[in-house]
Symmetry: C2
Subunit: 347 residues, 2 copies
DNA sequence: ACGGTTTGTGCATACGAATGCATTATAAAA
DNA sequence: TTTTATAATGCATTCGTATGCACAAACCGT
């Protein structure tokens, strides 16, 4: 008497198929399919019967089978670096939510250590994802090439490749760097040190370039620049190295908040300096932790929602074939003033 | 003369299929399939010819089609709450990596606001994922029920449902709570307040229960307990509320690090108290931020890698049909002593 | 040289849903 | 009532891969 308790007629524990439903509802498999994709006119009577049968069997369309014939998986591949920073976590989370909003599921692929970025992309392509978002892998260029070969749309989020015909969505790092410089200069800072993340990333380079050009415009030269990576530990190391030579800049610009956290902690707890009284620190990204009272970090806010929304929209438009030329979408950052930068100006 | 530049013979920009390869290599489609699944003996000569043709066409097996016939997607669904805490971010990231190690891709599904947890699970099931890991959704019970109906293995990570026949992997929250109590008591603390996360979660309840039982064993009663959620803001609010009545406990136990961060910041920057000199704070999880010098939080470390590895292994074993009875896997936590708890004992 | 075994390959079909086309039932028009 | 248009449904095929079965070739021992 097993299984008689369930209200659904068992199909032997294998999920019900459209044919099972068809049989029960006394219609053809095509009709069932049409009820669930509702592409076509159907009598209310039939629709009702089918839906009832479906409910009884617990039927749900098999998206895998559907994908095979329609050549559309409704999956977006999200490729992320093997990076633990809160910034990427936030970006990834928002991206998943955005994809969902557009009706897509997310296959998240993390580049495993030792793996080429292109392999991560290939893994996604094997599942015939409809589109790919890359938030920072090393060899974006080859990734973009292999996507073009498979004619799968690709969007770079928070990265940019000059010249390559790839869509990208970034904040305007040049302008943001410039704004940061302007802010620090306006506050009276003249000797500005920079603790930068990965030197190879376009974001890193642009932020510094923007900062530098604005500073030079005001006849201030940026001489103290350290490179490392976007991590707390790297922030600490760069900060130690910077101040080891006895250098005492007015302010330290960090190209990522997490670098700033490391730097602040070294300043306060290893060097006994006060932030911002003795030395000012500025971050970049506006991750959640910046607002925490211990840091209270003045930073440039990246417009997360806007970036992610745009990337997703762009990707979806491409997926639907509504592509035009290569898009490079740039978004303004906004300065969020908290308490880590001191004014050296007499008011 | 378009397309003649590519070395690969173009198949009209549609990804090459096994039939395309078969045609080029002068073998049947079956043979191509066999080369790529290598289930069967094949002459070296044939294999070489096929692989060459495949390379020339840029052929990679279509995992969607493969899934359809083999009834195996090699995808694991990872269901996560709409939660921004670093703890879940870490857990999710590690889970993705672990799945990959076992040869699975990850479909990450975030419960969207207003959505039932069961709907998130259903979305995964629609893609016929081979297994599902749930790291905290509200209605785990119904989720488990619908997985059973589809006979898709399910593992709860960091959650536990008493009685329900669901596999789960947790740290031993009872014991961990007890260890925390023991530590605080040994340090001489007698009035211990508790700032807890979501009251409905098994983790929250067990941590408190463990703490309480150990305390009572030593004739200390735990009278000050606040409930909230696992977030920085909630930590702040609970802390304010706790101390508003003029209460001054020796120590505050927080059921999550992020709660502790909020609490510490209120203590230090709103109430002007020193941690640990005036009041001790203890956390739970050992997220990355605990080691940051600003917090330097003494906490209970969850064995992340072990938890994730176990969950994944368990799931994979179930997927391969090697299931036995219901498994409840418990893992010991370890106290990580940093600088946020003061000793009240004369040494 | 012959029956028997092994090895390598092809043929045909299945997986579950979507869809162009044919067919039937129904309604509207003449 | 007959004709034509229209709406509703079924039939057959397709997507790309895997696999049971049949078959051919090669090898083996006697």
């Amino acid at each position: 008497m097993a299984g008689s308790k369930k209200s659904a007629e068992s199909t032997g524990n294998r999920p019900a198929t459209s044919s099972d439903v068809a049989r029960l509802a006394n219609v053809s498999q095509s009709t069932v399919s049409r009820v669930f994709s509702d592409t076509c006119k159907l009598s209310d009577e039939t629709r009702k019967r089918v839906l009832e049968a479906a409910k009884q069997l617990g039927y749900r369309p098999n998206k895998i089978a559907r994908s095979l014939v329609s050549n559309r998986t409704n999956i977006i591949g999200i490729i992320v670096m093997n990076n633990e920073s809160p910034f990427y976590a936030t970006l990834t989370n928002l991206m998943i939510t955005a994809c969902r909003k557009f009706g897509f599921c997310s296959m998240v692929i993390r580049q495993t250590p030792g793996e080429q970025g292109i392999d991560a992309v290939t893994r996604a392509l094997d599942y015939r994802v409809d589109g790919i978002v890359v938030t920072a892998i090393e060899d974006s260029e080859s990734a973009s090439e292999i996507c073009r070969q498979s004619s799968v749309p690709l969007v770079l989020l928070n990265r940019y490749i000059a010249g390559a015909g790839v869509d990208s969505v970034c904040c305007d790092n040049l302008e943001a760097g410039s704004l940061a410089a302007q802010y620090l200069l306006d506050k009276g800072h003249r000797s500005i040190a920079c603790l930068m993340g990965d030197a190879a990333a376009s974001t890193t380079r642009d932020r510094l370039a923007g900062l530098r050009s604005k500073a030079e415009e005001r006849n201030v030269s940026i001489d103290w620049v350290e490179y490392g990576s976007y991590s707390y530990e790297s922030g600490r190391e760069m900060c130690r190295k910077l101040l080891a030579d006895g250098k005492r800049p007015d302010a330290i610009f960090c190209s990522g908040d997490i670098i700033a956290f490391g730097a602040m902690d070294v300043l306060r707890y290893e060097l006994g300096l006060r932030v911002p009284e003795d030395i000012s620190v500025m971050g970049f990204d506006d991750t959640a932790e910046t607002a925490w009272a211990s840091y209270n970090l003045t930073t440039m806010r990246q417009p997360y929602e806007e970036l992610v929304e745009t990337a997703c929209q762009l990707l979806v438009r491409r997926i639907e074939g509504k592509g035009s030329g290569v898009v490079r979408s740039l978004h303004a950052c906004r300065l969020v003033e908290r308490g880590s930068v001191q004014s050296l100006q007499p008011e």
